[in-house]
C-alpha cells in the first residue's frame, strides 16, 4: 500500500498502473468464470428439458419403491425417498463411527508395536503397514467380501466358533447383552454419572488451579463414574442387561447380534486399511517428541508413567490429532466403496434413485452435500483444535 502511494504520480501511464491492472484482471477473471458457469448452466437446462429431467426436490416425498437390505432403522419400500436417503445416511454414519473407533484402537496398537524396542515386533508391525498401504482399498474389500464373507455356508451348515459365534450366509451371529425392560434406568444412570463426572472434573480443577487447594478432582470424578451405575443397578432391579445367545429357530438364528456379511467385510476392510495409516500417524507423532524431553523429565525425577502422562502424550497428541482427524474423514469418504460389495449406504441409495427415475442432479447434490458437510465439519474441528494448541504453545 505504501509503495503504491509513493509511486502515485501523474506520469505513470494507465496500462502500467498496478491498481488499474488488478482491476482489469479482476473483471476478466470474474467474466470468464461467470461465462463458464452460464455456458454449463444453459447447456444443462436445455438437456434437462429435452430429457424431461426433474430439477426440484419434490420427489423426496414420493414413495421410494426399492428395498434396502438390513435398514438399521425401520424401513419399507412404501416410505418416502427422503426417508430412504436418511436410512442410507444412518448406515454410512454407523459403519464409519464403528470403523473409526476400531481403527483408532488397532492403529495405535500397531503404531506402538512399530516403535517397540523388540526387533521382531517392530518388523511385524512394519509388514502389516506396508501390506495395507500399498494395495488399493477396493481390492482389500473384494478380498474380504467375495471369497470370504460372501461364501459362508448356508444356515444348516453354520460354522460354529467358541462364544458361541455362528457364521453362515445370512451373517455372523454373536452373543450380545440385551437390555431388559427396566434396563433403561441403568443406562440413564451411566449417562448421568458421566455428565456429573465431567462437570465435577472441570469445576474442581478450576478451584484447584485458582485457589491452590487440593481438590482430588481426578479421584472424585472417577468415583462418580463408578458409583452412579451401582445405584442404577439396584434401581433397575438388579439385572439391567442379560447376555442373549443366538438360537436356531426354524430356518434361521434368532436373538443375539446379527452382522450382515456386507457390513462385516466393509467394517473389517475399512478398519484394517485405515489402521495402517493411523499407525504411521501415531509413530510419527511419538517420534516427533524429542529424546531430550524424555531425558529431562526423567532427570527432574518423574516416574516413567508420569513422563508418559505429562511430557510425551501431551506433546505427541498435538502432532497426532490433526492427521488423525483427516484419516477419520478419509475412512468416512471411503465407506462409499460399500457400493461395490452391496452394503447400501448413502451413495448406493442415491445411485439406485438415480438409475430408477432420472433425478440425477438433485440426488447428486444431496450426496455431495452430505460428504461436504462432514468434511467442512471436520475442518472446522481441526481449525478450532489448531488454534487451541497454538494458544497453549505461547
Amino acid at each position: 500500500m505504501k509503495s503504491l502511494s509513493l509511486r502515485r504520480s501523474a506520469d505513470i501511464p494507465l496500462w502500467r498502473d498496478e491498481r488499474v491492472l488488478r482491476l482489469v484482471a479482476q473483471v476478466i477473471s470474474a467474466g470468464l468464470i461467470l461465462f463458464a458457469i452460464l455456458w454449463v448452466g444453459i447447456n444443462f437446462v436445455t438437456a434437462a428439458n429435452q430429457r424431461g429431467m426433474a430439477l426440484n426436490f419434490r420427489f423426496l416425498n414420493d414413495p421410494a419403491e426399492f428395498p434396502i437390505s438390513d435398514p438399521v432403522i425401520p424401513y419399507d419400500p412404501s416410505r418416502s425417498f427422503g426417508y430412504a436417503f436418511l436410512v442410507g445416511l444412518v448406515k454410512t454414519l454407523l459403519v464409519s463411527g464403528i470403523g473409526i473407533v476400531l481403527a483408532t484402537i488397532l492403529g495405535t496398537l500397531i503404531g506402538l508395536a512399530r516403535l517397540s524396542s523388540n526387533w521382531l515386533m517392530s518388523r511385524l508391525a512394519l509388514a502389516y503397514i506396508e501390506f495395507h498401504r500399498n494395495i488399493p482399498l477396493l481390492v482389500l474389500l473384494f478380498i474380504w467380501y467375495f471369497p470370504v464373507f460372501n461364501r459362508l455356508p448356508n444356515v444348516e451348515q453354520s460354522i460354529v466358533l467358541s462364544g458361541p459365534i455362528y457364521l453362515n450366509s445370512r451373517g455372523i451371529y454373536l452373543v450380545w447383552p440385551k437390555l431388559q425392560p427396566q434396563g433403561w434406568i441403568w443406562v440413564a444412570s451411566l449417562l448421568v454419572g458421566f455428565i456429573l463426572a465431567i462437570i465435577a472434573w472441570f469445576r474442581l480443577q478450576k478451584i484447584e488451579l485458582v485457589y491452590g487447594r487440593r481438590t482430588y478432582y481426578e479421584a472424585i470424578s472417577i468415583a462418580i463414574v463408578l458409583i452412579c451405575p451401582v445405584f442404577g443397578w439396584f434401581l433397575s432391579g438388579g439385572a439391567p442387561l442379560r447376555m442373549e445367545a443366538p438360537v436356531l429357530q426354524g430356518y434361521n438364528y434368532q436373538g443375539g447380534l446379527r452382522l450382515t456379511p456386507e457390513f462385516t467385510s466393509l467394517l473389517i476392510g475399512l478398519t484394517m486399511y485405515t489402521a495402517a495409516f493411523i499407525a504411521e500417524v501415531v509413530r510419527a507423532g511419538i517420534q516427533a517428541v524429542s529424546k531430550g524431553q524424555r531425558e529431562a523429565a526423567t532427570a527432574v525425577g518423574l516416574s516413567p508413567l508420569q513422563v508418559l502422562r505429562f511430557v510425551i502424550i501431551p506433546q505427541a497428541l498435538r502432532v497426532i490429532i490433526p492427521p488423525m482427524i483427516s484419516q477419520y474423514l478419509n475412512l468416512t469418504k471411503n465407506s462409499s466403496l460399500a457400493l461395490f460389495i452391496g452394503y447400501q449406504e448413502v451413495f448406493s441409495v442415491g445411485k439406485i434413485a438415480i438409475n430408477q427415475a432420472g433425478r440425477a442432479l438433485p440426488v447428486f447434490a444431496m450426496v455431495m452435500a452430505v460428504y461436504l458437510a462432514l468434511s467442512l465439519l471436520t475442518s472446522a474441528v481441526l481449525n478450532w483444535y489448531n488454534r487451541r494448541i497454538q494458544f497453549v504453545e505461547r
Partner: protein, 403 residues
C-alpha cells in the same frame, strides 16, 4: 590403569548374533514374551500361507490369462503396437536416467527389474511365449542402451522433455488406438483396452494432466484477486470433500448433460477427466505446501529487482517450490494409481475389472476368487512398493530438507 585406557581406545566389536538377540529380542521379560508371541504368530501365518499358496490354491485363472491382465482384450495380432509403445518408453526411461542421473535412476532400475522378472518366470505359461519373454528382455536392454546413449552424447533435458511429450501423445492418441479408416494402424476402440495398460494410462495421464491445473489452482489460492482466490478455494475444497467415486459417477452420468447437446465422450476419456479433476485439487494443495515454504525474502528481492508478479512466479517461486514437492507428487501418484480401481464403476476393465471378468468367465472360477484378487493385490503391491522405494531414493537425491 593401562588396561582401562586400552579398553577405551579399542573400537567396539560388532555385536555377535547372540549378543544382538539378547539386546534386541530378550532384553527384558516383557520383550522376551513379545518375541515368543511374534514368533508363534509368524510361524502360524507363514505355515498357513505356504501351505495354501503351494498346495491348496488353484492358480489356473491367473496362469491361463496373463496377457488379459496386462492389456485386456487388445487384439492379439496387434500386440506389437503395445510392445512398440513399451519399447519406446523403456528407451526414453534409459535416456532420462542418463541425462538426469539419480532423479530417475531407481525408477528406471525398478522398471527394468520388473520386466526382467516377468521375462524369467520359471514356469511354462501359454500366453507368455518365447517371443514375449524375449521382447521383455529387449526392453530391459533398451533401458541400458538409452542410458549409454545419453551419457555418450550428453542429451539436454529440454529436448528430452519434448521427446517425452511427443512420445506420450503419439502412443496414447495414435499408436494404441490407431487411426480411423487406416489399413496399417487399424482402429482399436478403447472398450477393448484393459488390464494394467489402462491402469497405467489412467494413473500417469491423471497425474500429468492434473499438474498444470493444480499449479494454477495453487497460485490462484494465494492470489490477491478475490474472484480467483474464491473460485480456487471453492473448487479445491469441494473436490477434496467428496469421494472420488462420486466424481467419477457424476462424470459418467451427467457430464453429457452439462455439455452442448450431441457431444459424445469416450468412456475412458470420461474416466480420465474425472480422475484429472479429482487429482488437480490434491495437486493444488501439495503445490501450495511448496509455495508456502519459499521464504518471503526471495519474493521481496525479486520485486526489488523490478520483476512483475508473472516473472516472480515463473522464475523465482515455482522452480524452487516444484522441486521441493516432487516426492509429495510421487506419493500422490501412488495413491492415484491405487484409486484407478474405482473406474470399474464406469464399466472400464482395468486390472481389478479384468479380475472380475475372469471370475465370471467360467463357473468353476467362482470358487477361485481369492486367488485372483490376491494376485491383483500382489501386482498393485509390487508397483506401489517399488514406487515408494524409488521415491525415498529420489528424496535423498534431491536433498529435500537438507538445504
Amino acid at each position: 590403569m593401562t588396561t582401562l585406557s586400552e579398553e577405551i581406545v579399542r573400537p567396539p566389536e560388532p555385536p555377535g548374533l547372540l549378543r544382538w538377540m539378547r539386546e534386541n529380542l530378550f532384553n527384558s521379560w516383557f520383550n522376551a514374551l513379545l518375541t515368543v508371541f511374534s514368533l508363534a504368530l509368524i510361524y502360524a501365518f507363514l505355515s498357513l500361507i505356504i501351505r495354501w499358496v503351494f498346495f491348496q490354491a488353484d492358480w489356473r485363472p491367473v496362469a491361463e490369462f496373463p496377457l488379459l491382465f496386462m492389456v485386456g482384450q487388445y487384439p492379439r495380432n496387434l500386440l506389437w503396437r503395445v510392445a512398440l509403445s513399451l519399447g519406446v518408453v523403456s528407451f526414453l526411461m534409459g535416456v532420462s536416467w542418463g541425462a538426469w542421473g539419480k532423479l530417475i535412476q531407481s525408477f528406471a532400475i525398478t522398471m527394468g527389474a520388473m520386466m526382467a522378472a516377468v521375462a524369467l518366470i520359471p514356469f511354462p505359461i501359454r500366453d507368455l511365449s518365447i517371443g514375449l519373454r524375449g521382447f521383455m528382455l529387449t526392453a530391459v536392454a533398451l533401458i541400458f542402451a538409452g542410458f549409454y546413449i545419453a551419457r555418450r552424447w550428453r542429451v539436454v533435458g529440454k529436448w528430452l522433455l519434448l521427446a517425452w511429450t511427443i512420445t506420450s501423445v503419439l502412443v496414447v492418441l495414435v499408436i494404441l488406438p490407431g487411426l480411423e479408416n487406416s489399413t496399417f494402424l487399424t482402429h482399436v476402440p478403447t472398450t477393448l483396452w484393459g488390464g494394467l495398460l489402462v491402469t497405467v494410462i489412467l494413473a500417469v495421464g491423471g497425474i500429468v494432466l492434473s499438474f498444470p491445473i493444480g499449479v494454477l489452482l495453487a497460485l490462484g489460492r494465494r492470489s490477491s484477486l478475490p474472484v480467483v482466490k474464491g473460485f480456487s478455494i471453492v473448487f479445491i475444497e469441494v473436490i477434496r470433500g467428496v469421494p472420488l467415486i462420486t466424481i467419477l459417477f457424476m462424470f459418467s452420468l451427467i457430464l453429457q448433460v452439462f455439455l452442448p447437446v450431441g457431444s459424445r465422450f469416450d468412456r475412458l476419456l470420461r474416466a480420465l477427466i474425472g480422475i484429472t479433476i479429482f487429482s488437480a485439487a490434491y495437486m493444488a494443495e501439495n503445490v501450495r505446501g511448496g509455495l508456502q515454504a519459499i521464504p518471503l525474502g526471495q519474493i521481496e528481492a525479486a520485486k526489488a529487482l523490478g520483476m512483475n508478479g508473472f516473472q516472480i512466479n515463473l522464475f523465482i517461486v515455482l522452480p524452487q517450490a516444484l522441486r521441493m514437492v516432487i516426492p509429495t507428487i510421487v506419493g500422490q501418484f501412488i495413491s492415484l494409481f491405487k484409486d484407478t480401481t474405482l473406474v470399474i464403476i464406469l464399466g472400464i476393465n482395468e486390472l481389478l475389472g479384468i479380475g472380475r471378468a475372469v471370475i465370471q468367465a467360467s463357473p468353476e472360477y467362482v470358487r477361485l476368487q481369492l486367488e485372483v484378487y490376491l494376485f491383483i493385490a500382489l501386482i498393485f503391491w509390487v508397483f506401489s512398493y517399488a514406487m515408494s522405494y524409488s521415491s525415498q531414493q529420489l528424496e535423498r537425491a534431491l536433498g529435500v530438507g537438507e538445504r
